[in-house]
Each structure stands twice: as structure tokens, then as C-alpha cells.
Symmetry: C2
Amino acid sequence: MQRAIVLGAGMVGSVMAVDLARDPGFEVTVADNREDALARVANAAASLRESPAGASSGLRAPSDIRTVRADLSSPEAIRALVAPYDLVLGALSSRLGFAALRAVIEAGKDYCDIAFMAEDALDLSPLAQKHGVTAIVDCGVAPGMSNLLAAYGASQLDDCRTISIYVGGLPRERRWPYQYKAAFAPSDVVEEYCRPTRLVENGKLVVREALSEPELLDFNGVGTLEAFNTDGLRSLVHTLKVPNMREKTMRYPGHIEIMRIFRDLGLFREDEVEVGGSPGKPGVKIRPRDLTAKLMFPKWTYEPGEEDLTVMRVICEGTRKGKETRLTWDLLDAYDTTTRSTSMARTTAFPCTIVARLLAGGTIKQPGVHAPEAIAQPAIVRRIMQELQARGVRYSEREETL
Amino acid sequence: MQRAIVLGAGMVGSVMAVDLARDPGFEVTVADNREDALARVANAAASLRESPAGASSGLRAPSDIRTVRADLSSPEAIRALVAPYDLVLGALSSRLGFAALRAVIEAGKDYCDIAFMAEDALDLSPLAQKHGVTAIVDCGVAPGMSNLLAAYGASQLDDCRTISIYVGGLPRERRWPYQYKAAFAPSDVVEEYCRPTRLVENGKLVVREALSEPELLDFNGVGTLEAFNTDGLRSLVHTLKVPNMREKTMRYPGHIEIMRIFRDLGLFREDEVEVGGSPGKPGVKIRPRDLTAKLMFPKWTYEPGEEDLTVMRVICEGTRKGKETRLTWDLLDAYDTTTRSTSMARTTAFPCTIVARLLAGGTIKQPGVHAPEAIAQPAIVRRIMQELQARGVRYSEREETL
């Protein structure tokens, strides 16, 4: 029996905890400073155990989940908290991710997380090696499965020349005007729409404006989507030696035009603007992005039970045995009406809990901090895909000779 | 020789002054509290006199225009100012229009203006009758020519059942994203996009949301435009007994969708919103419309020399001699590169200066305050159209039997 602790009882953390608790090999604790969030996780596990759906699709019903209240913004608190556990999973906001990673490494515990932190987690690799800790970060869907499939696809070609990653979280119902809701913090979405994007072209790192190079693509089961550059390559820029790599976010067509207009107007500006003044009377200073946040975020928030979708496409192109070859993986996942968990939470949490099992079982053991592309060996990728499929998250694979 | 004074030396007032000064029957003064605006008018007249273009198209070059500095926000100042003149023309902002009208009436002077004031000018009609003053208000393009043509068209049918007025000011060049610039105060445009619109249906006054009932229509020389309800019927709601009347504003297609999104987001809200606060720390309160104004208005401002267009269509439908008949007037006017005056200023100023001549000559003499539909007698309409045509503002007329 392994003792695992999940840091964070939010949407993703709760799905992680329930998934691990379905495994008789784990005793699961979840930590958060929000009492209500902890209660929700414990109740979710209990009610799944009592409902016939709890053990649906060949998965066992979850065992009890322990909860512990803790201040996860305090590295000291995390070090003390994780000491009695064999394994730690991180489901923290991007803001807390880096400090938590360091604290877990210092506590000498193997770790996997989905934090999407702004800092470069790989900077802590020497520290992890010193402590004999294996940490796999960015272990969600994108980053996460996108890295894994990009690296695996590249390894399956003799000469991979282009990697294209498309990913998006969408509401199932398209409502005017945005046709969009944010499954995670809307402020992070706005940040994504503003941050310059890094891509690799002809072996060189180039920077393009966010929201640039929109293109339409068709996605079975969803229809036509619109993809645009975002800064999502992250570690792949450095870890993969592929001369052309880009990452794009997908939305329903039209969304991005509105965002371009908002940005052009200055609604995403972070500098202060003085408004409402008159001659002789100063106005007040505000950051336009703060007002936009205030007005827009309620409109971007999923209603309870509102269904979301996750779509992803990873394309690797190059030559294999002298033939021009394209490998494509498609993911289309939807809100789970049985467990009432969002597709975003499912597709993000499961890669992390599956990797956690591989860490616990010793299948992955390479001290240091790694992005998922570091574990893209065929046996591991196969195992992850099988486990995802058992949880209803299906990546289809297609191979074309061009 | 008649002595005329124009109140206001802005874009429209300056065109009024120059137009009157082309007439040997007038000695023209223009009043404003902005020294630079006054200098511009005087210089414009002087330079037109010296250039061959000044007397183009059969119009005489303007004589000298006198200028006088005055505080036009003070009714007392206006009463004193206009005392020595035979006739007064108003080219004031909507904010100052009503008080100025009252002051001119109290001074006992005939008046015509283009103020587009929020108050009901006709409330001052008893006062004007008492002073023996004839005042024609809203004497621009729309309101103005729109009222005149609607009333004239209705009088040309035995039974007019529907009046539709379409009007718009547009930049000649369409630029992403708004395809729009504001030839007058952009805050008035936003107000127009928010104020509920009154229209007449089956003899009843009904109120619709602003920006509602968008429709596409083709306009020779411009292409396809998009029209939507605005609150522009004004006095016609009461003065014309036509069972169906509506007024719509025209923009290039797409503009109004952006405005609908902005309104939906709350960018036009006038109530205070608190932003930028955090737990325990209050934010600042702002009216979103103030920020929108600050950010948007620079983008909506015409560059010097940037060309504008004015489009208007007035349709009167009903029966004549037992036949279903449609009368249509179309206006398409453009920036005047010779005089460097905007189409908005031309199409607005000339109806007022033409009516001023009719007042000065005694052709119009009916003490009271009137909207232009009150002077829609065939002889007057014919005269106004001829004079407009002499100034290059051409309304085409079309009659169809349906």
C-alpha cells in the first residue's frame, strides 16, 4: 500500500484524488486550505462508492479519501505536510507551482504535477538529483500529453521535421458572442491571448504576436475550429531537436476576432489609464485589464453541470524508411455526466495520476525534474494511452504516407 | 443687406458662415469662445477668396467674415450678442442648444439651428409666438432634411402608410475593426447606440432596444450597408400622422455586431463598477463607459483630410390615385477636397443656411418653434433642393408604382 497526497482540492485535484482512490494500491489524502473544497472531494468519493455508476466502465469504486487542511502557499507547510507520504501529486495554481515543487523535492518525495507554472521547473533538476527525487511536471493534457506525443511521434520517424500541436477547451454549446467559457482561471486565458508566442521555424526560435496566424481546421465530432498561435511549446523548444514546431489554441470560429478587437481597443492593457476626469479634476486610474476581467469573467464561467469539451491534435511529419510520413493523434473528450467532472479536469488529471502510478511502481525512476517528453519511451506511452482509454479518454492515432 | 450671426465656429458653424458669406445679401459674423476656431473661419473665407476654387461651381467667393468672442453657454451673453443682428443661426452642441434657443427667442430674433438638443424645442413655441419669432430647429440633414422629405413625401401621397428613414455618416475607407469614424462627438454616437428607440407601428408608439432589427441594404456608390434602429424620429412621432414610421442608422456591415458585443460586455454601462480590488483592499470605482470613451474615441477620430461620406435614404409608401406608390430619396455626399469641409458639415450646414435665407427673405414666416416638417410645402422643398444642388449636395428622387 502506497500513501499518496494530492496538493490542491480544486477541479483537477479532486479528480486526481478520486482516480487514485479507485486503486487498491493507494491510500489517498488531499490537502487544501479550503474546507468546502475538501468536503466536496470526500463527498464525491463517498457518493461514487454508493452509486452503481461509481464502478462503471470497469473501474473500481473509490475508497475513502482523507482530507487535511493546509496552507499550500507556504513551502514550510508543504515540507512538513508531505513527510509521511510515499508520493506527492500537485494540482496547484500556476502561481504556487514552483515553490511547491521545490518544497516537495526538499522533502525527498517523488512528484508529478500539472501546475503550468511560469517559471522553468527544469531549473530545479539539479536539486532533485541531489535529493534522489524524480519529478515529472506539466503532466496534464497540454502541456502534458502534447509533449509526450510530440516526442514519441518524433522518435517514430527517422527524421522529424515538423511538429504541430493544436489544443482547446470549449463549451459544448456555442453561445453568442464568445462561444467560449474558461475551464480554468479566465485571467490565465487573457494572459495567453496577450503573451508573445515562441515557435521554431527552420531550426530558429521565432516570436510572433499572440492570436496571430489564425487557421481553420475540421475536427470530427466538433466541426470547424479556428486555431491561432499561443505560447504553448514550453520545454519542447529546448528538449526536441525538430526544426519546425508550433503550438496553437483552438476555439470556435469567430471567438478570436473578438479577442483581437478587445486587444486592439486596449481592454487587455495592464498599464494604468486615467478615466472620468474633467478639466481641473483628475479622474481615477485603472488597468483596463482589471475592468475587462470584472465584466467578462462572469460571462466566461461554466454553469454547474454545463458541458465542456477538450480537443487536441498532435501532428508529427517527416520521413520514415524514405517515405514522407505524417503521424496524427486526435483527442475529443467531453464532460462526464456520471461523475459530473469536466473534460478539462479529466484530461488534465488522468495523465498525472497514471504517471504517479508509474512513479510509485518504479517504472519511471530518473532523478531530476523532467517534462513529459522525457518519459516518451514506447512502453510508457503505450501504458499511458491504455490507462487513459480505461478512463474514457481516447486518443485516436493515424498514420499517412504522403 | 442683412446682418446674420452664426453661434458656434466648429465644423458645422464654420461651413455655415462661409456659405452665408458667399451671398452679397448678408454681412456675416461668427461667435465662439475659442479664439483658434474663430481664426480658422476667418482664414477659411479669406483663402477661398484668393483661390480660384473659392468661386467654383457657380458660387461666389465669400466676403469677409467678422468674428466675435463670446461665451455661448451664457444665455445673457447670447441675448446681448445677437441684439444688433437681423437673423441668428445656431451651430451649437446639443448640450447648449435649448438655452441658446430660448435666449435668441427672448432677444426677438428669427433663428434656425442644427443643435440636436435632448430637450423638446417645440416647448418654446408659445414663447416664440409671444415674441413674434420664427425658429426652425433640427435644420440639418437628419434630423433636418429627413423630416422635410418625410413630411413632403407623405403629402404627395393620398394615404401614406409607411415612412422609413435611413441615415449614416461613414469614413470613405473601411478600416478594421470598426469601419467607422465619428464626424461629431463620439460620446453622442455611443449614446445613440444605447438609448431605447421609439418607432411607430400600426399607429402606436413602440420602443425597441437600440441596435435592434439590423438589415442589409444596398446603396449605389457605397455598396451594402447595415441599418439598425436608432431613436431618430424625434418630432415626427408627434407631427406626422403616418401609422408606420422608423428611423435607422447605417454603418458598414459588421460595425454594429462589435457594438452589440461591447454593449453586452458592459462597456457602455454608466453605473459605477469597482475594479482592481483584492480581499481586504477596495478597488477603484469607474463608469465603464468612461474607459471605453478614453480607449475608443481616439480610434474613431477623423484624421485631418480624411474623407467622410454621408448617406441617407427616405422612403414614403402608400397609395396615390388608387395605386400603391413608393417615393424614395437618396443622398450620397462626400468630403469636399476643394474646401476641405467634411460631408457631415456640408450636409448639415447647408439646409440651415438655406432656411436662413428663406427666413431673411420672408418666405418662411410663421411665429413659433418648428421642426423642418412644418415647412415641407412643395415650393419651399423645391427651393431647398435646388439650393442644395447648387452646393453639390444632390438628393435623387425615385417614384415606383408597386
